[in-house]
């Protein structure tokens, strides 16, 4: 049994004990799943040999759905029910969505996140994304003929808390254990193995289907630090398609009024754009209800149309350099990511801006997934000694609303995470017993210019004169960049807390309901899934405790060791049972019972690390 085999500290587990972990690039136009196999990261193909899964979901009457290529192929005939580029709607309200009059969907303005009305009912962007993730999970499980240990999912560096939370919710809904969310550009740098290269500043220019990200990474001692991130979450290849489509319609003096026409002309524009990356001219052609559209377009025409979009990316690049207080000459290398970087005009403009040729060796569609797979493999503990550590920053400042609609910044942007910061506030009225707490994200001074993340109330403050209460509001941002806020009145210890998700994310009840409503994957049975998840967690906890004991058992007194052994025995005895609550309870007890041990181990490792370094310096 695997449990009795303890791997050397720092060594990779035996092959049959390897945990299968995948990297998923959940992209605007397409998504991919990759894994490290035989030491090499590779994208996993579907049964037809295709690695790319178009991020498209078509809902059918009666509850079925087509996902990926099928849905993409049907987009032109059923645009209203075929959701594409859903990533743009993640964690977004109706008002946030640009060009929505040009989109073929029927939006429903739900509190928090916008929803879409389809023949199969109203769908949240989280549900649509979960369909894509579940398809990729199935593909990975079929490839390995085994359950997944977990996944690393990439998000644009610019994603705010609500968008990250929505992504995590979607993964949860798809039955994935999220090891980490990582920024797409960082994943790309990992894919290029830049951590083995020369130390210094690198830029990752990621022009995907729907988002543009620019990140500056600093590499030192094999560790990446995200120095600054910027970009535009509503700028990408889709915008080039739209400009080209509008231009072609104007040339032909035609218009696209119906949803189907709009979709057809966009699909034709995309095909023409892709052709122009290699050819000097292309023909944009498709049938419309008014007549046949057929327009010849040269690369020069297209580049004239796209010039302004490319310039917008470069001004975001300038801003990030300014934020980082760096010059373009400081940048050692530029990684190109995203299918849109195949456009010659983009490569040329970036090369001219930085005065050097950007890196384009890897497939720009795959690099992000490949990097995520490498990171997932390391996080699952398969990578052995040369583990990869990713240090990250939060992209946008977090703060609170104060008097007069002003923002009090609590955690400034580009703070390294995880991080925690607290600030004290007081009451402004005599006898005030409640305080509203409004959490916002953004760089502007006024609350109305920032994104609202959550509101909650601290109640039960004992009546006091104005200014006497001491309310301490603490922000904690975890390694995924997700925020938890607590508020506490110090003199009375009244407390309120919130994991920031209510205004945009889904509540646990929502997730449970969606899981109940079923998914396209084989096992929709929630009980079975919970049981399986509990068993995986029990297994993981036992393994972790085993390896901790193997390394540091000498830190424990005899009775402490006995207690831990008893807790482990308890987990083992319920593990194969059918009651997932009993398994969860035993695992939780083991987790609690090993907390002091974990703290002692951590202290030892820090001591050793510092001592080791001091010796090196002598």
């Amino acid at each position: 049994m695997a449990l009795l085999q303890i791997s050397e500290p720092g060594g990779a587990p035996d092959p049959h004990q390897r945990r299968i972990a995948v990297g998923i690039d959940l992209g605007t136009t397409h998504s991919l799943v990759a894994a490290v196999r035989n030491g090499v990261a590779e994208c996993l193909p579907d049964e037809s040999g295709r690695v790319i899964l178009p991020s498209a979901v078509r809902y059918l009457e009666g509850g079925g759905r087509h996902i990926g290529h099928d849905a993409l192929g049907e987009a032109a005939i059923d645009p209203r029910n075929t959701v594409m580029s859903v990533k743009r709607f993640m964690g977004r309200g109706l008002a946030d969505i640009a060009h929505r009059e040009k989109l073929p969907y029927e939006f429903v303005d739900a509190p928090g996140m916008v929803q879409l009305r389809t023949v199969a009912g109203v769908k949240s962007p989280v549900e649509v994304s979960a369909e894509i993730l579940a398809t990729l999970r199935q593909r990975a499980e079929d490839t390995f003929d085994d359950d997944l240990f977990g996944a690393v999912i990439t998000v644009p560096a610019y994603f705010d808390d609500a968008q990250r939370q929505a992504t995590k919710d979607a993964a949860h809904l798809a039955g994935l254990n999220v090891l980490r969310l990582i920024n797409e550009p960082t994943a790309a740098a990992i894919a290029y193995g830049l951590e083995h290269g020369s130390e210094g500043l690198y830029a990752v220019y990621d022009l995907g289907g729907g988002t543009f990200d620019i990140s500056l990474l600093r590499l030192a001692q094999g560790v990446f630090e995200v120095v600054a991130t910027g970009g535009d979450s509503a700028l990408g290849g889709d915008d080039f398609d739209r400009l080209l489509a509008d231009w072609a319609l104007a040339q032909a003096a035609l218009s696209a009024e119906t949803a189907q026409d709009k979709r057809s002309v966009l699909v034709a524009a995309r095909a023409a754009k892709e052709k122009l990356s290699a050819a000097d001219h292309a023909t944009l052609a498709c049938p419309l209800s008014e007549g046949e559209l057929s327009v010849r377009v040269t690369r020069a025409d297209f580049e004239a149309l796209g010039r302004e979009l490319v310039a917008r990316t470069l001004s975001a690049v300038r801003k990030v350099l300014r934020d980082a207080k760096a010059d373009r000459q400081d940048v050692h290398g530029i990684v190109m990511v995203g299918g849109s970087t195949r456009m010659p005009m983009v490569q040329r403009a970036v090369g001219e801006f930085f005065g050097q040729t950007p890196l384009t060796d890897l497939n720009p569609d795959e690099v992000v997934a490949l990097g995520a797979a490498i990171q997932a493999n390391a996080l699952a503990g398969n990578a052995g000694a040369d583990e990869l550590l990713l240090l990250d920053v939060i992209p946008l400042s977090l703060g609170l609303e104060t008097m007069g609609g002003l923002v009090e910044r609590i955690i400034p942007r580009n703070s390294t995470i995880p991080t925690a910061r607290a600030q004290e506030f007081t009451t402004f009225k005599d006898g005030q017993t409640a305080m509203a707490i409004h959490v916002v994200q953004g760089e502007r001074e006024l609350v109305s210019d920032c994104r609202s993340l959550a509101r909650f109330e601290l109640r039960g403050i004992p009546p006091m004169v104005a200014g006497a209460a001491r309310i301490r509001v603490s922000f904690q941002v975890d390694a995924d960049g997700l925020l938890h806020v607590t508020a506490r009145e110090e003199t009375s210890a009244v407390q309120a807390a919130i994991a920031v998700k209510p205004s945009y994310g889904l509540s646990d009840d929502d997730i449970a309901r969606m899981l109940r409503e079923g998914f396209s994957t084989a096992e929709a049975d929630m009980q079975a899934r919970s049981l399986r998840e509990s068993r995986v967690e029990a297994e993981r906890m036992l393994l972790a405790t085993h390896s901790a004991l193997a390394a540091d058992a000498d830190l424990l007194a005899e009775d402490e060791r006995r207690d831990i052994d008893a807790l482990m025995a308890q987990v083992r005895s319920v593990r194969e049972g059918e009651d997932h609550h009993a398994i969860d309870a035993a695992v939780e007890a083991l987790a609690k019972g090993t907390e002091a041990f974990a703290a002692a181990r951590m202290n030892r490792s820090i001591h050793d690390a510092l001592a080791g370094r001091r010796v090196e310096e002598v």
């Binding site: 560790v223 090993t594 690390a609």
Partner: protein
Amino acid sequence: MNLASDDFELFGVPRRFEQDRAMLDARWRALQAEVHPDRFAAEGQASQRVAMQWAVRVNEAYQRLKDPLQRAAYLCELNGAPVDTESNTAMPPEFLMQQIEWREALESARSADEVEALADEVGSRKRSAFDALRRTLDERGDVAAAAEQVRALMFVERFVEDIDHRLEALGQ
């Protein structure tokens, strides 16, 4: 070494104002390489929680140590002379006069060149103020005087931000 160690102990650097930034960066990375929750992603929740506490603590210390002004304020506090910006806003009159002059100069500046010239002047004043602060802390050990210098420098830093905003607005 524990979570209650002060920033200098945690980073294993001398408790003084003058610091080697490259050393701080290296120590930060080495510490994070030990404590970051990612190192324990495959382990139980208890390890994750403890790792999180440590990683937060290391980042807090790093943010404070690498910023000269925050570092100076922290040293004052450790040595019993908290900077206390909330309750103590007393400034020497000549410093206040200087502030008013600068603010007026910024308001009346019409071109980017004028703002740049002001930025240069403020920048050089700031550098000499930091140099004086270093001597007060590391050579004379006069934390009470240092706390006053820190308060004055906080005003200067805020003014530098205003200049930056203005430059950004002027398209620089």
